[in-house]
Every structure is written in structure tokens, then in C-alpha cells.
């Protein structure tokens, strides 16, 4: 079994949570947020991680080397609201050992 990593998530109310995320469950950041219930059900991961909505948009505050953005994520973000230069979709960030120490902030619900 691989060790859990630490991830810091600032929720939509500005509260910071540093949590343990498993790296051996094929989980992505959106799923971690849901597992820890850091955003109300029905307000995040609406499409289930198909890159068909932007409800899991987050701002990446740490300098981690993230997976390269695919066309569908880029297109989805181009239609989202509150987008910043460091916006990513949480469902596209897999929890791997390299993501240890990741710090993100959830974008407002829209």
C-alpha cells in the first residue's frame, strides 16, 4: 500500500483543510473534496468527472508540476466563470505521490 499524501484545500467559505489523500485509489482532487465533504453534494463533480461541467474548478496555489491540460479541459474552462490563470478542473488532477503538499482553492459555485 502506498502512503497517503497531504493536500491542502481551501473551501468556498475560505476555510483551509489539510487532509490525507490516498494515492492508491485512482482518486482525483474532485473526488477527494467530495469524500471529505468540503463542498455540499450537488455543487461539485456534477458530471461525475467527465469534463462536461466546470463545477470542480479550483485555483492551484502551489508550484506543483501538474498533468498537462487536455483539449477538453481547456475548452471547458474557456466557458467557465471566475477563471484565473491558475484555474484547473479538480477531476483532472490525479492523487499521485508527486502531488504531496498540493495547495488549491475551490472556485465559487456557478
Amino acid at each position: 500500500m502506498q502512503e497517503d499524501i497531504k493536500v491542502t484545500i481551501i473551501d468556498r467559505d475560505g476555510v483551509s483543510h489539510t487532509i490525507d489523500a490516498p494515492t492508491d485509489m485512482a482518486m482525483n482532487l474532485m473526488e477527494v473534496v467530495r469524500a471529505y465533504e468540503l463542498a455540499p453534494e450537488g455543487t461539485i463533480g456534477i458530471c461525475g468527472g467527465m469534463v462536461m461541467c466546470a463545477s470542480c474548478q479550483c485555483y492551484v496555489n502551489s508550484n506543483h508540476k501538474l498533468p498537462k491540460m487536455q483539449d477538453d479541459e481547456e475548452a471547458m474552462l474557456s466557458e467557465a466563470f471566475y477563471v484565473k490563470d491558475n484555474s484547473r478542473l479538480g477531476c483532472q488532477i490525479q492523487m499521485t505521490p508527486e502531488m504531496d503538499g498540493l495547495e488549491v482553492e475551490l472556485a465559487p459555485e456557478s
Binding site: 450537488g42 456534477i46 458530471c47 461541467c53 474557456s78 466557458e79
Partner: protein, 353 residues
């Protein structure tokens, strides 16, 4: 007034399968959905995406699943009120409920099954400061009647299928069509993208990319939009128009159901999962993604199971005290309300000499 046995709020997979299970018990169903077509999320969000955990289907596209469910329940002649959102519920003295939609359509039934998924789909509104002042005064988030755009100047914003498809459609109706998108690339079916390219080349659609609408101009009605273009250096200008149609997709909101007096937890309706998925209001059930109970999984296949058990409870409410025994469709066949009958072929008995 539309009268039925089970009034289903939400025409997604769970709601559609309810029609079939209810039909086996000779109960009629009517469905209300805010979307203009049945299928719920399967039709609206991901019709072309495959699902791998529908029993007996190793792989099925969400849109095809909707078609199959409609085909399966067809002989039970479900009624539909589409494009309307269930707004209020009132319990009557005789124990039935009257559900009224946002357009005033009234439905009466002794049993209400909320199969509303994540809620009704509402258009996502762009963050333009004065946009609310122009809603229904030239700003429309959903195109209901394309004829209102005839010979008008129209600006559409968005980069998905609906923005592309409506630009194509309105190119033949409106006087001018301008499509504005934040990037040069569009996220739509390839043939729609190619068609827009063709219409652009013919001068029937003006394309403004990468750009976004940042303000609305007008006095009581839309006269134009302020646009910010970001090609090389930021540039701002106005486009004259009669209508501005932002098409940025839909997002589900629990909406008016939240005010029906139902017990809500985590944006879902609490139900009795030990028995029949009834809510705290007797006669009102919640099935599929919209409900919650210990161990709940938001899966289509779980919605099917919940719908089946719920129909048994509905049968007891509608036919109190009546004896019922489970019948297998293979044994009893399926008698449709439309007079059709499906049944297993009779066994062939033949002697071997």
C-alpha cells in the same frame, strides 16, 4: 388538470423505468421535467458518453439508454409535461396531491415520485454586471421561440454545441448573427464547427474570437453589447444588436422541491430505505439520485431498484388492502395500456418417432 396514478417529477432514467414497473401493476404515470426532452442528465450532459455499469449492457451510450428506456415503457403510454418545472405541491382533502408547474399546468395524483436527480437544470448566467436588468428585455438564456429573432440582430456567446447549433439555425432567421467566444477553438460536434466555418466564409455569421461580452448597452431593452477582444492587445468595442443570447450550459439546482416540506440532507431528500423510499410526507416518494439514506449510491442501477420497490408501495396506496403477488414478466407477459401484448412464445411439443 392532468390526472394520473403516479406523478413522476423528473424524466431521467429512474423516472422512465418507474413507468415500466408501474405499468406492470396497471398504474398510469405522468412525468414532469424542466428540460425539453426526456432522459435527464443522460440526454442533457453526456448523451454521447458510454456507461459500463448498466446490468447486461457491457457498454451503452447514455443517449441510447434513454431511447431504450422510452421503448421499454412505451406500451404504458406515459404522459409528459416537458420544459416546465414542478413548482408547488398541495395536499388535497381526499389525500391526493396537486403539483403545479412554473407555467401553471396542474397535475393531480394520489402518489408523487420525485425522481429529480440533482434538481432541475437552470441556465448558467455569465457574470456581466448589468445583465439582470435586461433579462427578457433582449437577453435570453434559453431559446424558446426562434421566431422572435426574425430579421433581428442577434449576438450569441458560448463555445459549446448549443452556441454553435443556434448560430447555425438563426443564420437563416435573423438579420445578423454574431458568435462570440473566449477562444478560437469550439467544443462541439465536428460537423457543427465545420458548418459555422462555412457560414462564416459566406458572411452569414460574424465570428468574434477570442473575446467576451463584458457589458450590455440599452435603455429598457438591449441595443448592443460591449465586447472585449484579446487577440494581441486588449481592445474594447460595441456591437449593435437587438438580442443577446448567452449559452453557457445548464447547471442543476434542487430548486422549488426544497420548499415542499421534505426533509433535506446534503441537497438530497431523506427517505425510508428499509421499506419503500417514502419521504417524511406520506404518499410522496423520492427515488434515484435525488434521495439519500445510509449507504446511498448515486447510480442509475440503484435508481431502477428503488423505483421498483416504490411502485409496490404506490400500489398499496392506490389499491388499499388488495392482495398482490409478484409475477414474472416471462410468465405473465406484458399487457400494454395501448392494447399490445408481449409474451413468451409457447413451448413446442413434438414427438420423436
Amino acid at each position: 388538470m392532468i390526472s394520473t396514478d403516479i406523478l413522476i417529477i423528473g424524466a431521467g432514467p429512474t423516472g422512465l423505468f418507474t413507468v415500466f414497473e408501474a405499468g406492470l401493476l396497471k398504474l398510469k404515470c405522468h412525468l414532469i421535467d424542466a428540460l425539453p426532452q426526456p432522459g435527464g442528465q443522460c440526454s442533457e450532459i453526456y448523451p454521447k458518453k458510454p456507461i459500463y455499469d448498466i446490468p447486461a449492457y457491457p457498454e451503452i451510450l447514455a443517449g441510447d439508454l434513454t431511447d431504450k428506456l422510452l421503448e421499454q415503457c412505451k406500451q404504458f403510454e406515459p404522459g409528459f409535461t416537458l420544459g416546465e418545472r414542478a413548482e408547488t405541491i398541495e395536499k388535497q382533502e381526499d389525500g391526493t396531491f396537486i403539483v403545479t408547474t412554473n407555467k401553471g399546468t396542474k397535475h393531480q395524483a394520489p402518489v408523487v415520485a420525485v425522481a429529480g436527480g440533482l434538481g432541475s437544470f437552470e441556465p448558467r448566467k455569465p457574470l456581466i454586471p448589468n445583465i439582470a436588468d435586461f433579462e427578457d428585455k433582449g437577453v435570453e438564456y434559453i431559446i424558446k421561440d426562434p421566431e422572435i429573432y426574425r430579421d433581428k440582430k442577434v449576438v450569441i456567446a458560448g463555445g459549446g454545441d448549443s452556441a454553435l447549433d443556434w448560430s447555425i439555425f438563426l443564420a437563416d432567421v435573423a438579420k445578423e448573427v454574431t458568435l462570440i467566444h473566449r477562444r478560437n477553438e469550439f467544443r462541439g460536434h465536428l460537423d457543427s464547427v465545420e458548418k459555422v466555418q462555412e457560414l462564416k466564409n459566406q458572411g452569414k455569421i460574424s465570428l468574434v474570437t477570442p473575446a467576451e461580452v463584458i457589458g450590455i448597452i440599452g435603455n429598457g431593452h438591449v441595443n448592443g453589447v460591449a465586447v472585449k477582444q484579446s487577440r494581441e492587445e486588449d481592445k474594447e468595442f460595441n456591437i449593435e444588436c437587438d438580442h443577446f443570447i448567452p449559452l453557457f450550459g445548464l447547471s442543476p439546482k434542487l430548486g422549488p422541491i426544497a420548499n415542499w416540506g421534505l426533509e433535506i440532507e446534503k441537497n438530497a431528500i431523506k427517505v425510508n430505505n428499509a421499506l419503500d423510499y417514502q419521504t417524511n410526507i406520506p404518499g410522496v416518494f423520492a427515488i434515484g439520485d435525488v434521495n439519500t439514506y445510509p449507504g446511498k449510491l448515486k447510480l442509475i442501477l440503484c435508481g431502477f431498484h428503488e423505483a421498483t420497490l416504490m411502485c409496490q408501495a404506490a400500489y398499496q396506496i392506490i389499491n388499499p388492502g388488495k392482495k398482490y403477488v409478484l409475477k414474472y414478466t416471462t410468465v405473465s407477459g406484458v399487457d400494454g395500456f395501448d392494447g399490445t401484448r408481449k409474451e413468451a412464445p409457447k413451448a413446442v411439443v413434438k414427438k420423436i418417432n
